[in-house]
């Protein structure tokens, strides 16, 4: 392998593809060859860097220089000035903000601000499409470590327990305990499933891991399979994620070639293989029992719990279902130890969390920061604050099953415990910012419409409740509501929380109650009987 003085990362994701990244890449390679820099500069297609809506992006290493909104016509300037002469072309837009002129520090503003990256640490440092680059940058080291140091499955589970890793899919269940229960459960065949049916509106973190570093997920699942005693793993990906499926399949094929998957992983005699299953679009399949039903080829109706999947999962066999982000933490915990992992985050909530920042912010995108980072910092330091100089009104945390947080709670720390104290949830890590012009009753209506569409219809409280709530919200929105309707909505949502079969119906109360509790005056105004306005 030759050594290059400069690497140019070309992040490929939906946004950059749309902005014409492939044409820019083609020209870049062509220009580099023309200038005779082919042996010095390497162009690498990478996963996303977390910046969205800024067109084609190029990141030049080792300078860590970001070019944004790159057009094909800019390429010769970048090659001739930056790569050949070492001068930054002053006319191009770079860094995370569209700053023109002198070089600003790139690490203190917006989405390129320094972050503790564990889950996404490599997603922009190598090409996810070439396993040799993955191996060269430390990929599969953790699998190697487990086998060369002869770690027992119990030792692996112990390590994960000590690390304090908790599920990142929303519930926050300790991963080590889940694995232990699956290992101890009786069954001839066990399974590990990666839940990549990311469907929480406003969330795209899993997609970026699937596309940016698919091998990390494979590595984590090999480790998980070894720990719980599974020989077979499934990755359940939503059908809309075309690039994710393609990259994941390619990664699996390469891993088989290198004997990292197959009848004898790294010739140790441990058999483990992976298969992708494509979902067909149902929000409910994010619930692990519904996902299992769907994997079995059936309607995604959630099962009654208990029994839990750890004892009665896929084909009634012991099964561990883990979220993509959760799994993506595993290799580094094995490599660097539980104590290292605990240095990040809070006492009860170690590690990092990926957040997607959306809505009315200057810089929508994705960041990975320590658990417990204040919401204010996420929105204002990383998201650049509310767009267009407008005032902040509320943030919806955790997607559709999330909670509306008003301005007075902006200093809340983003970890499972602190949020729970404030009756909020971390959910999937989506942070949707709304400015002063947003109507909360209108937002709630949109959320309830989503619920009414996605209820699986299996249990009455959810099937009927979601539609009743939608109707009440619609009346309020259309100016036909009555003040009593507001309490009826609360009552309905609370009843659903107590009586629904699965987390979908149980969680409707979160957006309904937080919207009404924090913004009651708006609902009353909408009902036309306000004493405030």
């Amino acid at each position: 392998m030759s050594i290059y003085r400069t690497h140019i990362l070309v992040p490929v994701d939906e946004g950059t593809v749309q902005a014409g990244v492939f044409e820019v890449k083609r020209r870049l390679e062509q220009k580099i060859t023309e200038q005779g820099l082919g042996n010095e500069v390497k162009v690498v297609e990478s996963g996303t860097v977390g910046i969205v809506g800024k067109g084609v992006i190029l990141v030049v290493y080792p300078e860590r220089m970001y070019y944004t909104n790159v057009r094909p016509g800019d390429v010769s300037l970048i090659v001739e000035e930056h790569l050949l002469k070492g001068r930054i072309p002053p006319t191009l837009k770079y860094a995370s903000l569209d700053i023109q002129g002198g070089l600003k520090s790139l690490h203190n503003t917006g989405l390129t601000r320094e972050q503790k990256r564990v889950v996404l640490d490599k997603s922009w440092k190598m090409s996810p499409e070439d396993i040799r680059e993955v191996l060269a940058t430390g990929g599969y080291k953790a699998v190697e470590k487990i086998f060369t140091e002869k770690m027992t499955p119990e030792a692996v589970i112990d390590l994960i327990k000590q690390s304090g890793l908790r599920g990142r899919g929303g519930a926050g269940f300790p991963t080590g305990l889940k694995w232990e229960a699956t290992r101890k459960a009786a069954g001839d065949q066990k399974y590990i499933i990666c839940n990549a049916d990311e469907g929480e509106p406003g969330t795209f973190k899993d997609r970026l891991i699937l596309e940016g570093d698919p091998h990390k997920l494979i590595e984590a699942m090999v480790i998980g399979g070894y720990a719980i005693g599974a020989t077979k793993g499934y990755i359940y990906v939503r059908g809309e994620y075309g690039l994710s499926i393609q990259r994941m399949q390619q990664a699996i094929d390469q891993a088989r070639e290198y004997s990292l998957l197959g009848p004898s992983v790294l010739e140790t005699g441990f058999a483990f293989d992976l298969q992708i299953k494509i979902g067909a679009g149902a929000y409910i399949c994010g619930d692990e029992t519904a996902l299992i039903e769907s994997l079995e080829g059936k309607r995604g109706n959630p099962r009654i719990k208990p029994p839990y999947p750890v004892t009665n999962g896929l084909w009634q066999m012991p099964t561990a279902v883990n979220n993509v982000e959760t799994l993506a933490n595993i290799p580094e915990i094995v490599n660097r130890g539980a104590a290292w992992f605990r240095t990040m985050g809070t006492d009860k909530c170690s590690g990092t969390k990926v957040f997607t920042i959306l809505g009315h912010v200057e810089q929508p995108g994705l960041i990975e920061v320590e658990m417990g980072t204040p919401l204010r910092e996420i929105i204002f330091a990383y998201g650049g604050g509310v767009a267009g100089g407008k005032k902040f009104k509320a943030a919806l945390l955790g997607g559709a099953s999330g909670v509306f947080l008003p301005e007075k709670l902006l200093d809340v720390h983003m970890d499972f415990e602190s949020l729970k104290e404030n009756k909020a949830v971390l959910g999937s890590g989506a942070v949707l910012v709304m400015n002063e012009a947003t109507s909360i009753p209108d937002m709630l209506f949109s959320i309830l419409k989503f619920y009414a569409h996605e209820t699986c219809g299996q249990c009455a409280p959810c099937r009927i409740g979601t539609h009743q709530l939608l109707q009440l919200a619609w009346k309020l929105r259309e100016g036909q509501g009555r003040v009593e309707d507001i309490d009826t909505m609360l009552n309905l949502a609370e009843t659903m929380q107590r009586t629904s079969l699965c987390p979908l119906g149980q969680s409707v109360v979160a957006p309904v109650k937080s919207a009404i509790d924090n913004f009651r005056d708006e609902f009353e105004r909408a009902a036309g009987h306000s004493e405030i306005s």
Partner: protein
């Protein structure tokens, strides 16, 4: 049994599906993967295709129908050459997706779920494509279009139609 009475033509499309079922049907729980393939071949899943799948996989027709109607992805009506899918997720909603939907309905003269008379466009909605940073977003077939406004939306539809008529 009901399945036996449905006439299923013997043509290349059914033979392709049969081959896929023969190769993959032995795996446990193949139904959804088979339906994915069937929809790829036929474009949608009319009753006879569902009957065929039920017969080949030895499943009750009701189970196949139940799965087809449960998932958003599966369609039982024929569709246009291009599917316009507008996201109505929260991030897109807050950025004005419903306005874009109105523009689409007006331009195409159809409601959500409908297909234009010339079978060129089918209008559909989605929950979230995971491209929220570009909100509001729509997908035309496999292509994602973001940061939409009414003009841009109309331009995209018209460009595609023009490109088609030129060819």
């Amino acid at each position: 049994m009901e399945t036996a009475q449905v006439h299923i033509p013997d043509n290349a499309e059914y033979r392709e599906l049969k081959k896929f079922i023969d190769e993959n049907g032995k795996e446990p729980g193949p139904l959804i993967q088979v339906l994915h393939r069937a929809q790829k071949i036929f474009g949608y899943l009319p009753p006879e295709v569902q009957h065929f799948v039920a017969r080949e996989l030895r499943l009750p027709f009701g189970q196949v129908y139940g799965v087809v109607t449960f998932y958003n992805f599966f369609r039982t009506e024929p569709i246009g050459d291009h599917i316009v899918n507008i996201c109505l997720g929260t991030a897109c909603h807050v950025k004005g997706a419903s306005e874009i939907l109105k523009v689409l309905e007006q331009e195409l003269g159809i409601r959500v779920g409908g297909t234009t008379q010339d079978r060129f466009y089918t209008l559909s909605t989605a929950r979230c494509f995971g491209a929220c940073g570009l909100a509001p977003v729509m997908m035309v077939d496999d292509e994602v279009y973001g940061r939409l406004n009414p003009q841009k939306t109309l331009q995209i539809l018209r460009d595609l139609r023009n490109a088609q008529t030129v060819n």
